[in-house]
């Protein structure tokens, strides 16, 4: 039986109000998702590994200012940008991650460099970016990440917080929203999961965190097992209220439910997103692909920027919970 490679991506979950989304912006998001999926699928069609495909997909999402990772990352309470990323190769369980980097243009490439060259899994802060720079990863000036939209989002978060600190906004706050912002309703992060022609799985996750977060805060995205995991059975990348995903060890929990409890991909991902996470107040979603090429994209929020593409097929993308173009279980939304 030959394997049809597949890649899935996400660009964050949360409250994505149709009222605050204009047709131009929605078209921009859909085109961005499709472009990344086409690029990833083209790599897989050419024989690239799942690891290389998810790395490139996340690099492209980082380069796109629409998403909260790399260019377009949100602001900390000090008006800076601190980014985290993780990558994992399910075939070998090799993993690399960085947290708290401020000058790495593409944090996912820093994570790859940590995996390839450091002998470690996780490196943090200025030392991490000095290390990856010695291995050819591009550093940029800290203001490279700034965008007017994120800056305005940060100013609104500070204004709501009164003192200018303490309130956080997650990233998909629509800039045109006039009503008071719900600080718990918008989340960041981008991610990719893939199955390649060799039957190998990989996952990658990257984020700018949450708007107005404390400097030094690290969420689930760079944590192997929480925001990112891949093994021989399944690859998972998550997005949402990071602290809850850390406490639930969400990505690894999906693997464990499949391996130990015998759950299908759909059942395991539904269990963690619709049952276990809400039980502790966790909101968000995940993308996952298993060794048979099944895809699950569940979320318990109003929307999640998401999509998948199989080699030989067209990309399938969706934003809201009710507009799934694909009626198959591959586009699972809120139940």
């Amino acid at each position: 039986m030959s394997i049809t490679p597949v890649i899935a991506i996400h660009g964050g979950a949360g409250t994505i109000l149709r009222a605050s989304m204009n047709p131009k912006l929605e078209a921009d998001y859909r085109r961005a998702l499709q472009d990344v999926l086409r690029a990833g699928a083209a790599l897989l069609a050419g024989g690239a590994s799942a690891l290389d495909a998810v790395t490139e997909a996340v690099r492209l999402l980082e380069e796109c200012a629409l998403f909260n990772a790399g260019k377009g990352a949100v602001y900390t309470d000090a008006g800076t940008h601190e980014m985290d990323a993780c990558v994992m190769d399910g075939a070998t369980l090799a993993a690399g991650a960085v947290a708290g980097v401020t000058r790495v243009r593409n944090p996912v490439l820093a994570a790859r460099a940590v995996m390839a060259h450091s002998g470690h899994v996780l490196m943090i802060g200025p030392a991490a970016q000095e290390f990856v720079a010695r291995h050819g990863v591009e550093l940029v000036a800290p203001d490279w990440f700034a965008t007017p939209e994120r800056h305005a989002q940060w100013l609104r978060a500070r204004q709501q917080a009164g003192t200018g600190s303490g309130a956080v906004l997650l990233d998909h706050d629509a800039a045109s929203l006039a009503a008071p912002l719900d600080p718990d309703s918008k989340f960041g992060t981008v991610g990719a999961v893939a199955l390649d022609a060799h039957g190998h799985l990989a996952a990658a996750t990257s984020t700018g965190g949450v708007t107005n977060k404390r400097v030094g805060r690290v969420g689930d995205s760079p944590i192997v097992g929480a925001g990112c995991y891949a093994n021989h059975l399944v690859a998972v990348s998550t997005t949402g209220t990071g602290e809850m995903f850390m406490r639930a060890v969400t990505a690894h929990d999906v693997c464990a439910l499949m391996e130990y409890a015998g759950l299908s991909l759909q059942a395991a991902t539904q269990r963690v997103i619709m049952d276990k996470l809400p039980h502790i107040g966790g909101r968000g979603g995940l993308i996952a692909v298993d060794a048979q090429g099944q895809v699950a994209l569940p979320f318990n929020t109003e929307g999640m920027y998401r999509g998948y593409a199989r080699v030989g097929g067209e990309p399938v993308c969706a934003i809201y919970g009710a507009d799934n173009a694909d009626p198959s279980t591959a586009m699972l939304g809120p139940s």
Copy 2:
């Protein structure tokens, strides 16, 4: 059925050669372990929560220069100290952690402060210690952590590495060992797990990392799910080759094997330490206690500083694999 509270601790696993251990040093280690266990058991006897008992046990281990955490932490390749810690409350799944702190006298108290006051799970670097200092956690000068033994260990690691970087030593290298040091045979970290009178579980882990590690490297100790985890079923703290424990998500894997595969505490901990970790080259051990008060202390190395105490009983301590004073399964060593 009334619950008998219990606490277990570890002070690192690795090659602990009898030939390099003199009777005085061995007695010092045993007395240190017993003192910490008595203090933890006394707290539990007085009605303290498992969370408070493990925090205090780890604080005492950090204060003891024999162990690689807090005072006595190993040196980085820059001749500095960078410490990581995590604490988790199994009753609520609340967790707190710090990584890359250089001036926090007791990293486990910093982890508690992050859990209690930040709204986050993990904070890193200088911002983390500034945050916890505002919440009353004591900072000290960076040289407070220095000890002659660890400094000599670092100089030997640098000498072996030739260039002064690139080789790491894990922490229980005996200072008197004349033969070339095996850089992969000695590990650091301290930890505690406990069950309290209310049936609640908690875990805590703290480390200085590995001798001559790269600045910025973070291992499994502060990672919820890898080096530390607690839920309603079991509490786990690990020690060993951190990168492998991160890739295997070891602490959470023990929980998942019990909850989803129905394994006993003994079977689950044996599986991860004797089977799954060695499969990817992982060396070390863990301590675990379940909701029934069962204790497991398995390791796949020559030794692990370890012990446990039940309220109303005497502490039981061991260092090597073959000298288990207690023939019960509670003192599992290498198979």
